[in-house]
Amino acid sequence: MADPMRVRATENGGVVDVKILMKHEMETGQRKDAAGKLIPAWHIQTVTAQCKGKEVFRAQFGPAVSKDPFLSFKFKGGAKGDKVTVTWVDNHGDKRTDEATIA
């Protein structure tokens, strides 16, 4: 499985702040290798986050998102102790799911 992402979720005043740091090359498909050949695009395409069975965020990434993508969003309806689950899928079909407990 791909390298784990770091997920942090903190609740304040009813709003859960989620920060995610993913590990992925995010190869644009524009770079050339030493022999001058184009390195094929390899990047996360979708990121989804769930809390208590409900989707709380969805992102579609193109290759222009930076390497080791960072993503932050906020939602209402989560309480301390609930889990936030994040999943990404890349253009090779690889996926990664990690979770954090809301603190």
Partner: protein, 150 residues
């Protein structure tokens, strides 16, 4: 006489063995393997700004170097979310780029407690270690890291 000789040889052999073992425990410098360096950041934002440039230059010149940054005291300031330098720039981009290039950022837990900085206010790239000074000593003594203070 013979017994003394045997005892002496055994002692010499033992010394020889332990010397060899010690040499193998800390990887010998200049004998192959990656150069490892620990950067100490403990002075504040201005030092951190200089260090970001030092780190970039370091990796440009020697891309294979394993670098760990240990921040304690005022050195953790640049790792706090929203921190800005004198020109108003945030550190997240620089830390992200260096992190993607393999640099590790470790913040001292004792500092966070003493200065009342919540762990969840640190940049996601930062890891927390129990004590910065202990970490710096350990990296040098046990893991053969070279010490650098920008």
């Amino acid at each position: 006489m013979r017994r003394a000789f045997i005892r002496a040889s055994a002692a010499l052999a033992a010394i020889g063995l332990t010397a060899k073992a010690a040499a193998q425990a800390a990887p010998a410098a200049g004998k192959g393997g990656r150069v490892r360096v620990v950067y100490q950041l403990s002075e504040g934002i201005d030092q951190a700004v200089r260090a970001m440039a030092n780190l970039r230059n370091h990796l440009n010149a020697a891309p294979d170097t394993k670098i760990v940054v240990v921040a304690f005291g005022y050195g953790v300031d640049f790792l706090v979310e929203g921190a800005r330098d004198a020109r108003g720039n945030t550190f997240d981009a620089a830390v992200s780029a260096l992190s993607s290039a393999g640099v590790e950022f470790r913040a001292c837990h004792n500092t966070l407690v003493a200065r009342k900085i919540p762990e969840d206010k640190l940049l996601m790239e930062a890891k927390v270690v129990p004590a910065g000074v202990v970490e710096i000593a350990r990296l040098q003594f046990e893991d053969g890291y070279a010490y650098l203070k920008p």
